[in-house]
Symmetry: C2
Subunit: 177 residues, 2 copies
């Protein structure tokens, strides 16, 4: 998730670590803050893997900066991660939102649609959070107001996302033809 965000932001423009960190904080920080001690090692990992290169520049305000630029291999890796996300990226909303934030980089509308269809398939599976044996329980069957809340919220999210997915898939298919 973090690596995807790094690659995604750098695909737009070279950035140094500090600015990158603020970009990531804006994107997902209110839900899941990124520690510096997570970001900088992640950058090193990606550098070591040849996905980005660093160039030292005198700092505009303070200490020298390491400007990060995506390599060609880094761009290809981003495309792979966008086009063939692991199942966790599809099912976990945090991961999924990060993926959506950069899905436009995947130039091919058909490839974009394929990813959306994976999410659609996931959402269309009957799944609850609470069961009576194998039978999923509906919000109305629960006494517990908190568990009822979970189902109510999840259902609202699901409904909104399904509507958006179908709309967006329709317009992507329109482009493809």
């Amino acid at each position: 998730m973090l690596e995807l965000a790094i690659l995604g932001f750098l695909y737009d423009a070279p950035l140094h670590g500090y600015v990158l960190r603020r970009h990531i904080a804006a994107l997902t920080g209110h839900v899941r803050p990124v520690a510096e001690s997570t970001l900088y090692p992640a950058i090193k990992r990606l550098e070591k893997a040849g996905l980005l290169v660093r160039a030292t520049e005198p700092g505009a305000v303070a200490a020298p900066r390491h400007v990060l630029t995506l390599t060609a291999e880094g761009g290809r890796e981003l495309m792979r991660r966008l086009a063939e996300p692991a199942q966790r990226e599809i099912t976990d909303e945090n991961h999924w939102f990060t993926l959506l934030a950069f899905l436009r980089h995947l130039a091919d509308p058909a490839a974009q649609a394929a990813v959306l269809r994976r999410r659609l398939a996931f959402l269309e599976e009957p799944a609850s959070f609470f069961y009576d044996g194998d039978r999923p329980l509906s919000a109305e069957e629960l006494d517990d107001p908190f568990r009822r809340g979970v189902l109510t919220i999840a259902r609202a999210t699901s409904r909104a996302e399904l509507a958006w997915l179908r709309d967006t898939l329709a317009s992507l298919d329109g482009v493809g033809r």
Copy 2:
């Protein structure tokens, strides 16, 4: 999150690991599956911390089971984790849903309401995913259909959750008086 779920399920009734695993899979497995190699070490951690005890029983169907029972200290720890969740448990939907699934165990309606109010405060903060400088961007301002989707879905979730929070807080306050 995982430890909270273990404590929460065991608060209802003693269980052995295998059944516990299926309970957890039903609760959060469709979003974030739990590996066995994560669950069993977690159980050991909680045992070592004195939060639960294990009793070996002949297996009903197969190998012998380790029936897990919450200790008094385990019950108190559950209450602490429910009443004073870390900020991550409030902001991250995955964690938050797990917390909600067990919040009924916290007997005091005022304590339950206090937790809901923390989530309410978080949701009422103006926060987006995408910014133009410091200004949050609305869905309408975005060209990118995928980023627009993120905002549309997040907004629908937020609206549903705010309504539920206000309802539930009102009825919890009604009980307290």
